[in-house]
Structures are given as C-alpha cells and as structure tokens.
C-alpha cells in the first residue's frame, strides 16, 4: 500500500496516482473478461462446427421412410424403425425402474436417515457411483441380469442396466429438490399434527416434484445416448423386426412379452453404420445422430419448461 489517497501535501499528483491505479486494475479486469469470453467461444464454436457438420451430412437422408424402414443392406432403403422403437421401449423400462427406486432412496436419505457416518458413507458412494464408467455397469449387468437371472439379451435387461446407471443421478437430484424446501414448511406441517409420512406425501414430494422430474428427464436424456453398456449386454446391430405388441386381441389384452424381446437402439444403429466401409452408410449414421441429438434437446427442453412452471408456482 503506497501513499495512494493519503498523499495530502501534493493533491494534484495524488489524484493522478489514484486514477492511474484504478486504470491499471480495470485493465486487468477487462483482460480476464476477454480471456473468459475467448474460452467460451472456443468451446461453443467447436460444438457448433460438430453439429453443423452432422446436420449437413445427415439431413439429406432424413425422410419419412427413414423412420418407418427397417435397416437394410442398401443404405438408401435403410431406416431406423427398430432402433427408435427399441430406444423408446428401453427408456420406458429405465424410467419405470429408476424413478420409484431413486425417488424413494433420495427421500429416505434426506428425510429419514440419521445424520451419522454411515449415511455420509452412503452419500459419498452414491456420488462415486455416478462417476463410474458406464461399461462397468454393462459388464455387471451381463453377469447378473443376463447370466445369473437369465433375463437374456432383452429390452428388460437394457432397461434395468440403464436404470441402475442413472439411479445415482435420480437420487442426487431428488435430494437437491427436497433440500430446496425450506424447513419452515416442514415445521408448519408438523405443528398441526401431521406425521412424517403425511408431511412427505402432502408437502415434500409435491413441492419437489418439479425438481425431481427435471432430474429424471435429464438422466433419461443421458441414458438414451448410452452405447457401451447395451453393447456389453448384447444389443443386436441388425434388427428387422419390432418387439411384440403390448396389446393383444385376447384377454388380458396387455402383453409384457416385449420386455423379453431382443432389441437394438439408436446409438447402436449409429455405431453399426459408422463402422461400415461404405460412405452411404455414414450418411445414415449422421442422420441417426441428428435424431438422437434432437431427442436429447427435446427432453432437456421439457425439463427446462417443467422447472420454469414449478418455480413460478412454488413460492415460500
């Protein structure tokens, strides 16, 4: 600290020194802002280049037939029907497995679990679980679901595997959504004589459902693009049939046979086409990439919308 403002005897030069000091510090301010902006642009432009390249390559192949055709030896006739139906079925199974378990586990950890070292250890491991390479989940699923439990290379196996994969995300977002509810709301509920379960069912879960849904959708948008674990459990790469229909003409009119059916999925189909030598199939792969990207964007868009709606409704 020099004699900045305190240089009373010579007011003129003191003033100049002060301004010079401010100028120098503001310069560094701008320097950092510029560096930050450059980094941001670098990342964004690279991403944009990738997306544009994908769109340019794949767009010509996007047509109605592309969605309604099975894969084929001829690139122009090949479509993604079995792939997107497979992806949809897997997503449904994943959501069905991961949501109840994840929400219940998150709620337990936040509202019931005693705050001790065991709970902390569990919390830490859930965070670690979210960071485990997805292929490890595939290997584990191959050992347990496919061989031990005999579920086969089926949609059910894929759904369970991806369900496990996204479970940590669902648990963590559930906890975060619950933690956002102020304690005063819990106390208000208990103060009129509510039980813990009533407090959770009438207040905690409804008020956090926006956050929970956002987390669930974001975790699904991650699962939809996962390739490694479903290759490991034996997804097929060439599927020219659809899973069994969930409705049937005779009693009880619903069938869960589709859960046992073999499958393929969008990323698998894309991977398969990419690994072929013929250039035309790469165009198909790019088109599939666009579809995947759009699906992810759509899911994220829905998540953002839900969050926005709930933020407007939930005021404390």
């Amino acid at each position: 600290m020099s004699s900045l403002a305190a240089s009373a005897p010579d007011k003129e030069s003191g003033q100049e020194e002060l301004l010079g000091n401010i100028k120098a510090r503001k310069f560094r301010d701008r320097l950092f802002a510029l560096a930050g902006l450059m980094s941001l642009l670098f990342a964004l432009l690279t991403l944009l280049a990738l997306v544009v390249d994908l769109a340019m390559t794949g767009a010509p192949r996007l047509s109605y037939e592309f969605f309604t055709n099975f894969p084929s030896r001829f690139a122009e006739r090949a479509g993604i029907l079995s792939a997107w139906v497979g992806s949809l079925c897997i997503m449904l199974t994943t959501a069905f497995c991961a949501i109840p378990v994840g929400v219940a586990a998150g709620t337990y950890l936040e509202e019931y679990a005693p705050k001790n070292w065991v709970t902390q250890l569990i919390e830490l491991n859930i965070l670690n679980l979210a960071g485990i390479p997805s292929i490890t989940f595939g290997l584990m699923a191959l050992g347990i679901f496919v061989y031990k439990l005999g579920l086969g290379h089926s949609i059910l196996t894929a759904g369970l595997t991806l369900g496990l994969l996204v479970l940590p995300i669902v648990i963590v977002t559930t906890r975060e959504a619950i933690r956002a509810i102020p304690n005063s709301i819990r106390e208000a509920s208990y103060a009129v004589g509510a039980s813990k379960w009533q407090t959770i069912r009438h207040h905690i879960l409804p008020y956090s459902s926006g956050g929970i849904m956002t987390g669930v959708i974001i975790s699904l948008s991650r699962a939809i693009g996962e390739t490694a674990p479903i290759i490991t459990i034996g997804a097929l790469t060439f599927v020219a049939f659809l899973p069994t229909s969930p409705v049937k003409p005779d009693f009880p009119f619903v069938s869960f046979q589709w859960l046992k059916d073999p499958f393929t999925a969008l990323p698998i189909q894309m991977f398969n086409w990419l690994s072929r030598p013929q250039e035309e199939f790469h165009v198909n792969a790019a088109a599939t990439g666009i579809v995947l990207l759009l699906m992810t964007l759509l899911l994220n868009g829905v998540a953002i919308y839900i969050r926005y709606r709930f933020r407007k409704k939930m005021k404390w």
């Binding site: 208000a188 009129v192 004589g193 409704k313």
Partner: protein
C-alpha cells in the same frame, strides 16, 4: 389486562424444566404457570431461550435429534406431562397449535391451508370442514378479504394476510393452547396492529403463549409476562406489575432499556 376481573385457572404448568441442545443447556430450571384464556408473554434479550421454551410446548424440538428435555410441562385438566417419553409428540401438536415468526403458508390454496389440520386427522365430512374453515378465517379476521377467493394460492397474499392465514390454520383444529413465536416480527406496523387486535380478541376463548421482541407489544396485549435471561425465568407476574414495579433489578434494567 381487562380480562382479569375473573380469577384465572391453571391451563398448564412448566415445572423445573431443563433443556439441552446436545451438550449445551439452553433452559435452566424454568418454572412457569400458564393461565386459561389469558395471554402470557415471554420477553427477554436475544438468545435468552424464550423461543426454545415456547417450542417445548408442542415438542417441536423432537424433530431434531440432539434435543433433550428434563422436567415437566403439565397440561390441565388431567395433569399430563406432555414432555413425558410415553407421550407421542404428534398428540401434543394436535392439542397445542403454533404460529411461527415468518408466515409459512403451504404453497397450496387458502382453503387447503386452513383445512390441513383436519385433513391430517382424517376428517372427511365436507360440510364440517367447510364450516371450520369459515369459522377459523373469521376468527383470524381474514374472512372478508378472502371469502371470494378461497381457492386461490395462499402465497399470493400479503405478508400480514399470510400470517393471519397461519393463525386460521392453527385455530381450525381448536387447539387447547395457541403458541405465537414473534408473530409480527416480519410484518409492517399496520399488519402488526391488525394481528395484535386479533389476538386480544382471541384470548377471550383460547389460552395464548407469545414470544415477543417488542416490549410494547407485550405491555399492550399480555395479561402475564415472564422475563427471561440466559435460559432462566427471572421474573413472572401480571404484565402491569412487571412493567411498572418489577421486583428484580435485572427485569427493571431490561424494561427500562438499560440493556438488551
């Protein structure tokens, strides 16, 4: 103060209550009578334990694991110790209502807020619930403002209205005692006056224990006042007596603004 013509009967008694947060003792041998259909104010500087004492009355501390009570709060008639291990805190909270410092309505409709206490009790009869909601809103002086929008969102109301809604929510289950934890500290003077008026009216029918930071508020509204300091009740008596001729010099110093 004008309700004191009739002699008051005991509604509850705090008997030699010690309270601990983990290893820290927050209340030290507190003893205090609570009279029926009277208002008792708990005053004292920040951190003196007045809110802690209030939250013992409905076992709010049981929500947090480190709390530990020693001593009794006896509820009359029946002379039951509501701090007893065998008593379920839910029972206590069903019998003793509470209004908090900051208005904390549920992000639901006005109607749902007031009816919530009945809902958790499993009351199903619609006409009964409606009747109680109307009565509670009337008692809370909110009926005329909200009668046309019972199904609009509670959090859209002003802070003062929200606090009166919280009072209505507490009244809907007809509690034996109403606990008020600095109910006006987050409100503007007009809303405060409104609520004070309301509780002066309410104490004709219900026993009230109120914590307040505002000495004038205690003097205006309470029949009895307890002065607390460092976890102890230093002095308890008629509000008039506490504010005009306190027996303890510590009470006098606080009342006259020498500290606190």
């Amino acid at each position: 103060m004008n309700t004191k013509q009739m002699p008051a009967s005991l509604r509850a008694e705090v008997k030699n209550l010690n309270f601990f947060y983990g290893p820290k003792q927050v209340l030290k041998s507190v003893s205090l009578p609570i009279y029926e259909n009277r208002m008792t104010a708990l005053i004292g500087p920040s951190g003196c334990g007045k809110t802690t004492l209030l939250r013992c009355f409905n076992r709010m501390h049981d929500l947090y694991a480190t709390a530990n009570y020693q001593g009794e709060i006896v509820l009359h008639p029946g002379a039951r110790n509501i701090l007893g291990k065998e008593i379920d805190p839910m029972e206590v909270r069903m019998r003793i209502g509470m209004v908090f410092q900051k208005p904390n309505p549920f992000p639901k409709t006005i109607f749902e807020n007031v009816a919530y206490g009945l809902k958790v009790r499993g009351v199903r009869k619609k006409s009964f619930i409606e009747e109680r909601v109307v009565k509670s809103l009337q008692q809370a002086g909110l009926w005329n403002e909200v009668k046309d929008r019972l199904h609009s969102h509670a959090t859209d109301m002003s802070g003062g209205q929200q606090q009166r809604l919280c009072i209505a929510r507490a009244l809907a289950t007809e509690p034996e005692i109403l606990l008020l934890d600095e109910p006006t500290s987050a409100l503007d003077p007009i809303s405060t006056a409104h609520i004070e008026e309301l509780i002066t009216e309410l104490k004709k029918e219900i026993t009230i224990v109120m914590v307040t930071h505002n000495l004038h508020q205690a003097a205006r509204t309470a029949d009895y006042t307890a002065y607390m300091y460092l976890g102890e009740v230093i002095e308890f008596g008629d509000t008039d007596q506490i504010f005009t001729t306190p027996n303890d010099t510590r009470t006098e110093n606080y009342i006259t603004g020498r500290f606190g």
